[in-house]
């Protein structure tokens, strides 16, 4: 009897999972769940918020040895004050990133103000939602982590997912091993961290899940200063040093413990 039930269950699932615009009997859009699975296969990326800085950190998966990994950027500049990291299908992310950039430029043209992080995250999320509701199109297999600093100095991290849901976070991760990384944040995140502490936390979180090599991590730091938003990609040397010091700290803690 159990066996028969199992067969029946799979048949129900598979008959509802081909079409995007059809709910399953459990009340789920299964295509969107599959899209999230595609996201979970992508390289891990994290976003962490500090007192007046933001850090985006991305695991850069190794391509073939002959690929120039420096040209594969997983942190996209959306505007001078907004950066996005993503997990999932790179091509989809490229398309969405372009739409976000266009919207930033149009917004500034029409309203003279620069976009707030919330606005652009909402915009990207709305596009992703639109692709879950009309027929003939598939959802974007991307989750974005957007980090931005507004003109008034407010800084925020938002994450969007293939269903079009978006929310603000203090620290968030998506992609492969994101659950492990999120548990790490639950344990170690503190409010009002300085810029250095935030950078350290973000890189430490990825070091558990990534090969210990600076070439595999891409880090972008945004600081809120008097001049507004200062953004930079952390250089390789600095990153190697930072990783070394984090490893050292870990060893010392293990020795103590």
């Amino acid at each position: 009897l159990q066996f028969l039930y199992f067969i029946g269950h799979t048949r129900t699932m598979s008959s509802y999972d081909r079409a995007l615009t059809v709910f399953s009997p459990e009340g789920e859009l299964i295509q969107i769940r599959y899209a999230s699975d595609a996201v979970n296969q992508g390289g891990c990326c994290v976003g962490v918020k500090g007192k007046d800085s933001l850090v985006l950190c991305v695991e850069r998966k190794m391509g073939t040895q002959l690929q120039d990994t420096r040209t594969v950027k997983k942190i996209i500049k959306i505007d001078d004050h907004v950066f996005a990291a993503f997990a999932g299908l790179t091509a989809d992310a490229r398309v969405l990133g372009k739409r976000a950039r266009d919207e930033c430029a149009n917004f500034q043209f029409n309203y003279e103000d620069r976009v707030s992080t919330e606005y652009i995250s909402r915009y990207v999320a709305q596009i992703q939602q639109r692709y879950t509701q009309s027929g003939g199109r598939r959802p974007f297999g991307v989750s974005f982590i957007l980090a931005g600093i507004d003109e008034s100095g407010k800084h925020a991290i938002y994450m969007t997912d293939p269903s079009g849901y978006f929310a603000r976070y203090k620290a968030i991760s998506c992609g492969q091993n994101s659950k492990t990384v999120q548990e790490f944040f639950d344990k170690n995140y503190k409010d009002d961290m300085s810029a250095d502490e935030t950078l350290r936390l973000a890189v430490s979180s990825l070091m558990d899940v990534v090969d210990q090599s600076s070439r595999n991590i891409e880090v972008c730091q945004l600081k809120s200063t008097d001049k507004g938003c200062e953004a930079r990609f952390v250089g390789e040397e600095e990153l190697t040093e930072l990783i070394k010091s984090i490893e050292k700290e870990k060893e010392e803690e293990e020795k103590k413990g």
């Binding site: 029409n110 309203y111 003279e112 103000d113 707030s116």
Partner: protein, 294 residues
């Protein structure tokens, strides 16, 4: 001598056509020009003029285009409105006359339109255009608040209105507005035109009475107090209404300040009949200085 004579004949190089008795004549037409000359002119003089005209005929004179960068000063907006930025706020003063040609349609027009709690817009030019589009702007400001959970900046609000004007610039809109408000950057004053011109500044005046008001406003300094600004603005509109036929009625003074506990930034300070103001100014010899009115 030849140049002067040519100018006598040819009235406008840019538009050599002239309309006499409902028929178009080309001023380069020798016979026509001859006929236009007064009979008393000597024949030799006429020949001289004709000769000069002939040489001109061989020269191709380009039509001088009006540079598009210089906006045409359009004084067809029958009103006086002004806005000045002072320390801690903005003072807006408007008259209240609406005229259709030579008929005064209303002496109690409301020329200041609020856009939410933080922004005011003034009206000059076509009442319909101003009222409608400023109301649309008010809607956009409200939608912005609902969508983005913050009050709109004055830069963005004025940009929306400028975009509306610019996209309709050839439709014959007649609208000169001042967008004044308080946002996170402090008091902001913008002027938006029916051609899509949008300028940020400390002192603007619009309408047919603006030329008189701007003379009075030369006293303005950005570090004046609000009371001094109110006095100055009120005086400026009063003097403008005295001399401009299309301005009159009441002077309304509005002030934009930092938000109070409800987030409300603007309030109406006073509403005075210009005739009473003018009488008072010249009765007590203060020549329009009303420091004792508040």
């Amino acid at each position: 001598k030849a140049t002067v004579s040519v100018l006598y004949c040819v009235q406008s190089l840019a538009s050599p056509m002239t309309c006499v008795n409902d028929t178009m004549h080309d001023l380069r037409d020798v016979n026509f020009v001859k006929a236009m000359l007064p009979a008393s002119k000597q024949q030799s003089e006429i020949d001289e003029l004709m000769a000069a005209d002939k040489t001109l005929k061989n020269v191709k004179l380009p039509v001088c285009p009006r540079p598009s960068a210089i906006p045409k000063l359009n004084l067809e907006k029958g009103t006086t409105t002004l806005g000045i930025v002072v320390k801690d706020g903005i003072v807006l003063c408007v008259d209240s006359r609406a005229s259709t040609g030579e008929f005064i349609a209303s002496r109690t027009t409301q020329k200041v339109l609020p856009m939410g709690k933080t922004i005011l817009g003034t009206m000059a030019g076509g009442a319909a255009d101003c009222q409608y589009w400023e109301r649309v702007l008010g809607v956009e400001c409200r939608l912005w608040e609902l969508r983005n959970k913050t009050t709109i900046t004055v830069a963005a609000a004025s940009k929306i209105l400028a975009g509306i004007s610019y996209s309709r610039r050839n439709s014959g809109l007649c609208m000169g507005t001042l967008v004044a408000g308080w946002d996170e950057f402090g008091p902001q004053l913008y002027t938006v035109d029916d051609q899509g011109t949008r300028l940020k500044g400390d002192k603007f005046s619009q309408g047919s009475g603006s030329v008189y008001a701007l003379g009075i406003l030369e006293e303005h300094r950005t570090d004046m107090s609000i009371e001094e600004g109110i006095d100055l603005g009120r005086r400026a509109v009063m003097h403008a209404t005295h001399r401009d036929a299309y301005s009159g009625g009441y002077v309304q003074v509005y002030v934009v300040r930092a938000p109070d506990e409800n987030g409300h930034c603007w309030e109406r300070v006073s509403r005075d009949d210009v005739q009473d103001l003018y009488k008072k100014a010249h009765e007590d010899g203060t020549a329009g200085c009303f420091k004792d009115l508040f």
